[in-house]
C-alpha cells in the first residue's frame, strides 16, 4: 500500500512537473496574444538539441542550461517576428497562426534532421545517480525536475506579478488597444512573451533529454500534452494550466498504476471530454483572458 502511494505520489509529481513546464509557455502565448503556437513542441526539441550541441563542445553543463535558454529566447523572438507578427490584426488570426506556426515547426524539425541527423541522442542528467524514497528507486534527475519546476514557475509568477514588465504583459493580455493608449509597445511585448515561452520550452526539452532519447520528432507528443493541459486547465490564465498539469500528472500516475499504461491516454481523453462538456472554459478558466 505504501509502495503504491509512493509510486503514485512520485509519478504524479514528476509527470505534473514536466507537463507544467511544457504547458506554461503555450499558455503564456495564448493569454498574451490569443494565438496557439504549434511550434512549441519543436522549440522543446530545438532547446534540447542546442543544449546537446553546447555540451558536445565541452561547455560546462551549468553554463549549457542558461545559454541554451538564452539562445532559445532569441529563437522565440525570431519566430514571433517572422510568422506571427505579420498576421496580427488580420481576420481569423487564430487559424492563420496555427498554419504559420505548423509550417515553422515543420521547417525547424526538418532543419534539425539535416543538422543533427536521425540518430537518437541523449543529454546528461541534471544530477547523476539514483536514490530510494519511501521504498521506491528514483533517479536524482527526476527529483531535480520536481524541485526545479516549482522554482521556475514561482520565478515566472513573481516576474508577472511583481515587476513593471510583468504588469505590462498582464495588461497586454487583457486589452491590446488600451495598452497602446497608455504607451505600451505591444509588438515588443509579444516578442517578449514568445522569448520567455521558448526559453521555458527549451528547459522542458532539456528535462526530457536527460531521461529519454532525443530525436527531431520528440516535440510532437509534448505539444499534444501541453495542449491538453492548457485546454483542461482553462485558456484564460496561466495558473489554471499549471494546476491542471499536476492534476493530470497525478491522474495519469493513478491510471497507470491501477489500469496500466495503455488505458491511461484513453481515460485522460474521456475525462477531458467530460470536463469540456461541463466547463467549456476549462477547469480553472473564465471567459476573459488574463495573465494571473
Amino acid at each position: 500500500m505504501m509502495d503504491a502511494a509512493s509510486q503514485i505520489l512520485f509519478g504524479g509529481l514528476f509527470q505534473g512537473s514536466l507537463y507544467a513546464m511544457m504547458a506554461v509557455g503555450l499558455a503564456l502565448i495564448w493569454t498574451t496574444i490569443g494565438v496557439f503556437n504549434f511550434s512549441h513542441g519543436v522549440m522543446m526539441m530545438l532547446g534540447a538539441y542546442i543544449a546537446w550541441q553546447l555540451n558536445a563542445w565541452s561547455i560546462p553543463y551549468f553554463i549549457v542550461l542558461p545559454l541554451a535558454m538564452i539562445i532559445m529566447a532569441g529563437a522565440g523572438w525570431l519566430l514571433q517576428a517572422s510568422v506571427v507578427r505579420p498576421m496580427i490584426g488580420r481576420p481569423n488570426i487564430v487559424l492563420v497562426v496555427v498554419i504559420t506556426t505548423l509550417a515553422a515547426a515543420s521547417l525547424i524539425e526538418n532543419g534539425a534532421l539535416e543538422i543533427w541527423g536521425p540518430r537518437s541522442k541523449q543529454l546528461p542528467t541534471l544530477i547523476a545517480g539514483n536514490t530510494e524514497i519511501f521504498g521506491i528507486g528514483v533517479s536524482l534527475h527526476q527529483i531535480a525536475i520536481i524541485v526545479i519546476t516549482p522554482i521556475i514557475l514561482l520565478a515566472l509568477w513573481l516576474f508577472l506579478n511583481r515587476t513593471r514588465l510583468g504588469l505590462a504583459l498582464r495588461a497586454v493580455a487583457q486589452n491590446e488597444d488600451a495598452s497602446l493608449l497608455v504607451g505600451l509597445n505591444v509588438t515588443a511585448l509579444y516578442g517578449l512573451a514568445f522569448a520567455i515561452a521558448a526559453a521555458l520550452a527549451a528547459l522542458a526539452g532539456i528535462f526530457m533529454g536527460g531521461y529519454r532519447f532525443m530525436s527531431p520528432v520528440m516535440g510532437a507528443d509534448p505539444l499534444l500534452k501541453a495542449l491538453i493541459v492548457v485546454v483542461f486547465g482553462g485558456l484564460s490564465n496561466i495558473s489554471g494550466p499549471i494546476f491542471a498539469a499536476y492534476l493530470i500528472g497525478f491522474f495519469e500516475a493513478i491510471c497507470s498504476y491501477y489500469f496500466g499504461l495503455y488505458w491511461t491516454p484513453a481515460l485522460l481523453f474521456a475525462v477531458l471530454i467530460l470536463m469540456l462538456m461541463v466547463r467549456p472554459e476549462g477547469l480553472f478558466g473564465s471567459r476573459a483572458r488574463g495573465l494571473a
Binding site: D177, L180, L181, G183
Partner: protein
Amino acid sequence: MPLLDVENVSKAFGSLRALDNVSFRVEPGEIFGIAGPNGSGKSTLFNTITGIPFGPDRGRIIFDGVDIHRKAGHEIARLGLARTFQRETSFDKLTVFENVLISATYSKANRSPEEQRRNAVEALDVVGLPRSSQGRLAEELSVFDRKCLMLATAVAMQPRLLLLDEPASGLTKPEIETSIELIRRISGLGVTILLIEHVLTFLMSLSQHLLVLNQGQVLALGDPRSIIADPRVVEAYLGTRKAAV
C-alpha cells in the same frame, strides 16, 4: 501654434465614408467639444487621431508640431496624447492602482519608479478615487468609478492633450455634474481637452469651441452658443425644424 491641427482627414470603410475632409484646430489649454448624431464619425475621428485601431486614409494630423498620422499608437501616446473610451474599458483584472501605475510607467521615459508611483497616487487623488479602493480589481468598481479610473489612467500619463469619448454616457444626473467638475479640474492642470459628447448641455457647459459632425463631414464649427442655434445642427439632431420646436 495650435496644439492639434487636423487637416482634411478622411476615412472610408468600403463604400462608407466615415470621415470626409474633416479639418479643425485645437488651441493649447482649451476644451474643444465635438458633437453629432449617432454614426456621424465622432469616435472614428478619435480613432484616426490616436492611430488605434486605425489611422486616416488621407489627410494630416499635426500634434504639437509633429506629424503623427503615420506613427504607431504607443508612440503617439508617449508624445503626450491620452484617450478615454465611451465604454469604461480599463484592465479589468488589474487592481485600480496597477491600472494607473501602468500609465505612469510607460507613457513617459526617464521617470524613476518613485516618480511613477507618486504620479499614480496623484492621478487617483485628482479624480477623487479613495485610497481604500486602490487594491480592488477594476472590474469590481461601479460604472462611475470605472469612468473615474479611466480618467485617472489618462491623468497619470501627464498628457498635453486628452481625448474624452462620451464621458457622461451611462451616468446619472448627479454623476454627470461631478464629471463636469472633474473635467474642469483636469483642464485646470493645463491639459487641453478634446471632448466628444452626446449630451449637448454637458458640451455647452464645458466647451470653448464646438464642432458638429454629420455623416462624416463638418457641419458647423465655432462658438458653442451660435452653433447650437444653427438650424442645420438642429435638423441633424432632431430631423426637422418642426420637430425641434
